[in-house]
């Protein structure tokens, strides 16, 4: 893993996000750019830039879906340093999202729905999740293996998993992997029907937690094999040492009380990395702030790590839940934590969960020796994924 790129409500680059994480600066607030009936009711983690401003940063057209613009900004940060040096290498792009071009589809459909008006049909041409990936791949002239995964909130953890597998198997020299999602009326209203949105800034892993805040953003990492790393003169920041994907097979939108899928994903990722639970120094929790997720994830961690629970925190109180982007965003945060020896606080935490014997880290810890990080991403459809990042010398 040689570089990162990220954009969220707390910053438009890895460095900007790192500064906010250290300062304890949350990005949760009232929506300014998302036009919705609910903007005074539900705070969100919005990137405070208009589509025109995002377009200027990414070099793409402002008329494209917002998810594509966010994606391109994070890819640009991660990939730009090596782009010119990668001549002749097999480069793949593994992206993920859940909303596709839904922001523009909403515009198209409001006209079409009432009058069958097809005149703005061009608005819907990037509706597909895969269209977002193709727009970004095209923008950066990536012509090797290009794919899109959509497994709800675990989407971009899975794209990183597949990218790592294809590098290991010798099918590619370089992989840019992660994902993106923008806020949309569709997802905000969808999560509202499930009654899992918090009307206040969320409090993951707190006994009084009320739900999640939706967020938007993108996060990508660049993976290289040794050949590519030499040719691109790239320094390894860490390695993707383990990954696993399991299914909870319990409910379409809820986790099993005991977190069966969560535990399977974590234990299999450790096995793949050849590590014991006691080797993990930090867990970046999925930690959405919903009663159900935090309880199931907490229980699975208690069971797997028993008495020696690693230091753990959720960064969703900073960014909101970026859905298809969160696996990529939190991979970047995990790598910052490891390389800077930092454990970010689980913001706004107050009261220990009554059903859990451990608590998250709530103040910034510095000077930590973090050799292995576990990053969790769990989602609808029972999709559970865990990634393990390890120091190169670990």
């Amino acid at each position: 893993m040689v570089s990162t790129g990220v954009i969220t409500a707390i910053g438009t680059s890895t460095v900007a996000c790192k500064e906010s994480l250290i300062a304890g600066r949350s990005g949760i607030g009232k929506a300014k750019h998302l036009q919705t009936h609910w903007k005074d009711e539900f705070p969100v983690g919005e990137v405070d830039l208009s589509n025109e401003e995002l377009a200027a940063l990414s070099g793409m057209d402002a008329g494209l879906p917002r998810t594509a613009l966010l994606s391109a900004i994070a890819v640009k940060e991660a990939w730009e340093p090596f782009r010119a040096k990668a001549e002749g290498l097999r480069t793949g792009f593994f992206s993920a999202n859940t909303v596709g071009g839904m922001d523009l589809t909403e515009d198209f459909y409001s006209g079409f729905h009432s009058t069958k008006d097809l005149s703005s049909v061009q608005d819907i041409r990037h509706h597909e999740c895969g269209a977002i990936t193709d727009l970004v791949a095209h923008h950066f002239h990536i012509s090797g293996f290009v794919t899109t995964i959509s497994t709800a909130c675990s989407s971009s953890a899975n794209s990183i998993m597949m990218a790592a597998q294809m590098i290991e198997n010798g099918m590619l020299d370089i992989a840019i992997a992660g994902g993106a999602d923008c806020l949309s009326k569709f997802t905000l209203n969808g999560f509202n029907t499930l009654m899992i949105l918090d009307r206040q800034p969320c409090q993951p892993f707190d006994d009084q937690r009320r739900g999640l805040n939706l967020g938007e953003g993108a996060g990508y990492i660049v993976l290289m094999n040794e050949k590519a790393r030499k040719q691109c003169d790239a320094e390894a920041l860490c390695i993707v040492s383990g990954y696993a994907n399991a299914n909870d097979a319990y409910h379409q939108t809820a986790s099993s009380p005991e977190g069966i899928g969560n535990r399977l994903a974590m234990s299999q990722a450790l096995k793949r990395a050849g590590l014991q639970p006691s080797d993990i120094d930090y867990i970046n929790l999925h930690g959405t702030g919903t009663a159900n997720n935090d309880s199931a994830e907490g229980k699975a961690i208690s069971d797997l790590f028993s008495e020696k629970i690693p230091k753990a925190s959720s960064t969703k109180a900073y960014t909101g839940h970026t859905l298809g982007g969160c696996g990529g965003v939190e991979a970047v945060f995990s790598i910052i934590a490891m390389n800077e020896g930092l454990i970010f606080p689980n913001l706004r935490w107050q009261i220990p969960m009554s059903d859990l014997h451990w608590t998250p880290v709530t103040t910034l810890e510095t000077g930590q020796n973090i050799r292995h990080v576990l990053s969790n991403s769990f989602g609808f459809g029972g999709n559970c994924s865990s990634l393990v990042f390890s120091k190169t010398e670990a």
């Binding site: 909403e106 097809l118 597909e128 895969g130 290009v146 794919t147 995964i149 959509s150 497994t151 569709f186």
Partner: protein, 348 residues
Amino acid sequence: MNLYIHGTGIVSPAGCSHEADFLNSSSDYNTDRLLCKEPNYTAYIPPMQLRRMSKAVRMGIGATHICLQDADIQKPDAISVGTAFGCLHDTEVFLSKLIDQEEQMLTPTAFIQSTHNTVAGQIALLSGCYGHNLTFVHRGHSFEHAMINAQLYLDQHPQQTMLVGGIEELTPTSMEVLKETRVYRKEHSTPDTIVNRYAEGSIGGEGAAFFAISQRPQTQGIQIKDIDTFTTRDTEEALKRVEYFLDRNILVQSADLVLLGVNGDHRTELFYTTLRTQTFKDIPQAGFKHLCGEYPVAGSFALGLAMHMFKQGLPQSAVLNHPPKSFRNIVLVNNFLHHYSCWYLSTA
């Protein structure tokens, strides 16, 4: 690649793969869209659940059921699904209510079922499969990438069996939009106008096709030996990529059959005409999109057709030039818009 197909389940406009008339009923039509002939699901989906399921979900569950029966297994160890458009019906239901009701008094069912991984999640839920579970949503490569993922997964879990499928539902709105953008023809088509004449666009299609895949050799079935996917807007480049694919796999003369995604769209005329009259000139050729329609994961139907052929021969309705004498080496070349794929299948 070393993937073996141990079972097949197809729900398609040409019928279901476990029924006697699959691919045998008359394929005469004059229409703009080919819709699935769905099976009777009541034997394995409880009626309450069935009522709430969109067509995409129930077709996926149905094809899975047929596939697992065909493979004689209770549940797969892992699941890999491809769908470019996802659950369009439920997406539209939720979107239209959101607009009509101005974001108020909405109910969750359609939203829950609108996510792209709904089908894969429901299969896991109904079969109690805790294993690896992925959904690929990459346009005309969605199914092919689900199969490439199976290779990656099974390399690490060589004793397991994975369920790999492709699914796409056609809705009245997607039909209208895809006609307006000329993916589908505005006018009606007959099988002959898809196979032998070119016009602007193709015929609407949909379907679900699932396969039980493992690395355990299967003497009575098909092995997937190679898949390549590529994207280009240049027909010459596409033809070159097909040549590369053939060069690395097989002498063209030793191919027993080539399955072609001929779709009647004039934008693919040069591509498929060159393949038919030059690249594969004397090789037996079959088409499939005049049987299942055009949709992003139609390659999954073609793979199902290959499995069917292996057991019962090639239906006359699929033959483009002359019938094959054997089915040892099969090449499949397909496209959906600018997304192309090549498969090399073998029964050796």
